[in-house]
């Protein structure tokens, strides 16, 4: 295994792989740092450029974007107080106050080194567990996959901030979109109304681009003209700081680092949750375990370390799910999975064994992306900060154009562009009415697979109780039930507390 990893690293160190990896990481850091541009958007923009590359080149570039993006968000989070990506939200809580207190360098580099360490620990987990997990994944029959998907949907709907019901409705909308078109088993057209276009169903990536990139940018455009928060650090001239001291600060809190990393990995492994949940949860956990929870939010290092180590560890966890189970861990890995298919790779339980060179190449790219990320931020943090001051009025049209080109390049047909436009509008309407988009995307990603596995299990054995009596499947369904109950309970508690706070605070 170590030999394979060594070979992988030597392979990726070749210029033909190192260049795409470097460019990907750079794009990720910049995209991550730009407020309003998410990692998903960055990876979507990069995707069409990888079509002509060989599989490992393309996947190296994407891994770079993923790693770079998870770290890049911290620059803007610390220095301007706006999270560059949702996975850096919690970094603003302590990073920005610390920077305003006159320690911008310490804030940024605490984040960078925490990302680095958390990411590498996540990488160790990725390399050590993908094989064993893939062996477990082989034991997953259609019943287990079905139940796993149900669990994923229950969890994501439960995470929705606004309301559990809206989360469930969004999931259902996602599932319904996949019902349109030929059914996946016997090719009977559904809701096609005799149209050849609808008969094929909605292609996944244009829908994803429409909903995630398009709708998001439209909402950001509404904020145009609003004043930026005061006291930003755009004038900061230097971020220099003693790196040894900063690393010492992180390593001096081993429990915090390990626990946040663990939270990040677990969230990553669970299908379709992603970095935006990981950093909030890790921050929350750090606060709960801390001896001085009241200091959180005032600019202490713990907050930055928790948030940044968890969101990079989350990347490692997500890659495990896609490589061992062939199921995307979040929207970013969903795009990566699409890219793998375009490059002719079927991920799943046999992936690591059958494509060992590629699998270890991805591990190597993941590991090497971390020093590259540190280097890029070290050299270019202030410059990147300048880029983030590019007005949204300029940035938004560029990203939109790239989105449309990306959708068109998928198949070189205009239909994909129309689908993108349609779902851009749908997504925007949903955002305006307060529906969360993540559950919708999950429903969309899993729709066909849920249906296929349900039908397969019934074709194999017509006894429906097998979903509950098969131990893994039953356990997964039980977890789904627990997560629904927990979500409902938390919402109720949250609302009560909100009501109570409203009484006392004012």
């Amino acid at each position: 295994m170590y030999e394979l990893l060594g070979q992988g690293i030597l392979t990726v160190l070749q210029l033909k792989y190192l260049v795409p990896l470097f460019l990907g990481t750079l794009a990720g850091v910049v995209g991550g740092a730009l407020p309003g541009v998410t990692i998903t958007m960055t990876i979507i923009v990069i995707l069409p450029f990888t079509f002509g590359l060989d599989p490992l080149q393309g996947l190296s570039a994407m891994t770079g974007v993923y790693v770079g993006g998870s770290a890049g968000g911290l620059i803007t989070a610390c220095l301007i107080g706006i999270p560059g990506t949702p996975s850096a939200i919690a970094t603003t809580f302590d990073g920005f106050p610390m920077a305003r207190k006159g320690e911008p360098g310490r804030a940024v580099w605490l984040g960078v080194w925490a990302s680095f360490l958390g990411g590498l620990l996540g990488g160790a987990f990725l390399i050590l567990t993908t094989g064993p997990l893939a062996a477990i994944a082989l034991e997953f029959g259609p019943w287990e996959y079905f139940s796993l998907f149900v669990l994923a949907m229950a969890m994501v709907a439960g995470l929705a901030e606004a309301s559990f019901v809206k989360g469930l409705i969004a999931t259902a909308i996602g599932l319904l979109i996949t019902v349109i078109g030929s059914d996946p088993i016997t090719s009977v057209p559904r809701f096609a109304f005799g149209s050849a276009f609808l008969n094929d169903g909605f292609p996944f990536l244009p829908v994803l681009i429409g909903i995630f990139a398009f709708a998001q940018i439209m909402t950001d455009l509404e904020k145009l003209g609003h004043p930026k928060p005061e006291g930003t650090m755009e004038g900061a001239k230097s971020l220099s700081v003693s790196h040894l001291k900063v690393i010492g600060e992180i390593l001096g809190r081993p429990f915090l680092l390990l626990w946040s990393t663990f939270v990040g990995i677990v969230i990553g492994v669970l299908p379709a949750i992603g970095g935006s949940a990981a950093n909030m949860l890790a921050y929350d956990q750090a606060k709960k375990f801390s001896r001085r929870p009241e200091k959180f939010g005032t600019g202490i290092p713990e907050g930055i370390i928790a948030s940044e180590s968890s969101n990079n560890a989350n990347v490692g966890g997500s890659l495990v799910t896609i490589m061992a189970f062939g199921i995307p861990g979040d929207a970013v890995t969903a795009v990566m999975l699409g890219a793998m298919t375009i490059h002719g790779i079927q991920s799943g339980p046999l992936f690591v064994v059958q494509h060992a060179g590629l699998a270890y190449g991805i591990y190597a790219a993941y590991i090497l992306a971390h020093p590259l990320m540190v280097m890029i931020i070290g050299v270019g943090a202030l410059f990147i900060l300048k880029i983030t001051s590019v007005r949204l009025a300029v940035l938004a049209p560029i990203v939109l154009v790239l989105c449309v080109i990306g959708a068109y390049a998928l198949n070189n047909t205009m239909q994909a562009v129309y689908v993108l436009l349609l779902f851009g509008v749908v997504g925007y309407a949903l955002v305006k009415t307060g529906f969360p988009l993540a559950p919708l995307i999950l429903g969309l990603i899993l729709g066909d697979q849920i249906e296929i596995n349900l039908i397969r299990s019934i074709m194999t054995d017509d006894n429906p109780w097998l979903f509950i009596t098969r131990p893994i499947s039953g356990g997964l369904l039980l977890c789904a039930l627990i997560s629904v109950v927990l979500a409902v309970w938390q919402h109720v508690r949250h609302q009560k507390r909100m009501a109570a706070e409203a009484d006392t605070d004012f």
Binding site: L138, T186, A196, G344, Q346, L402, Y408, N411
Partner: protein, 320 residues
Amino acid sequence: MRRILAAVLAAGLIAGMTTSMTAPAQAQYPDRPIKMVVPWPAGGDTDNIFRPFAVELQKAIGQPVVVANVGGASGTVGEREAKNAPADGYTLFAGHDYMHLVFYAGMTDISYKDFEPICLISATPSVLTASPKTPWTDWKGLLEDAKKRPGQITVGATLGSTSHIFPALIEKAAGIKFKFVSYEGLATRMNAILGGHIDLTDSNLTQKGKVDAGLLKFIAIASEKRNSEMPTVPTLKELGLDIVFQVVRGIMVPKGAPAPVKAKLNDACGKAANQPSFAEAMKLQGTTVAYLDAARYAKFLDKMDADSKVVMTDLGLIKK
């Protein structure tokens, strides 16, 4: 202001690059990349056979040949995509015998007549393959068990396609009954059979490595003679079942492609299929190169279609 200008320039540049990439065909064919639609998921046997072929074809024709895996609904999704593509030679269809079968099974209205043949490239004998978790080690054990438990032994298959028809022929010849479960393409069936979620499936000698490692069992091969790569696997004929079944694969284009384009493709296809490196790649896939040019492939298809109709009628699966 300078920053804005630079950004606009960059966007314009990228837009310009992509338009030039997709400019309409005006010069001599081919002047841009060619897409090869493989109607099954990546990593299956069809995919594994056409990918090395795409490499050879690319050398012969002088433009990139990009494989697009468009799986789903027993291969009919990719088939429809290829049929609806412009007949300009920039979309190729990588088909096999399943097209005739799913047509008669009533799963699609598209027939082989919606395409024009370019060349036949390969033939792969089918092998009846069992999960390691099954109790039997040979055909005799399987037969006894199947007679004891009719309709209980599960077979993973792409419904209506070759992997469905091959076990169905065995059912009929041996007077037994299997239970079919939909698993599209060999790649997904391998995951299922290694985990023991299905008992049997149609595969081929591409899976030899897994048999050697004890992860799979080959029960019988559907060729005339035993294969020199796997001499221990008996033929179905030896076992008293008169079944010879192989999957042949070839390249087609949507109907109406211009004659010069077809001629160029036919020419390049012949060069590509007869490369020694292609024969070498096919050996790894348990496959022999079986080249037929466009004219002979057309006749072959007519015969194949008539045969398929007879088979589907015999098996009672016909809907058309």
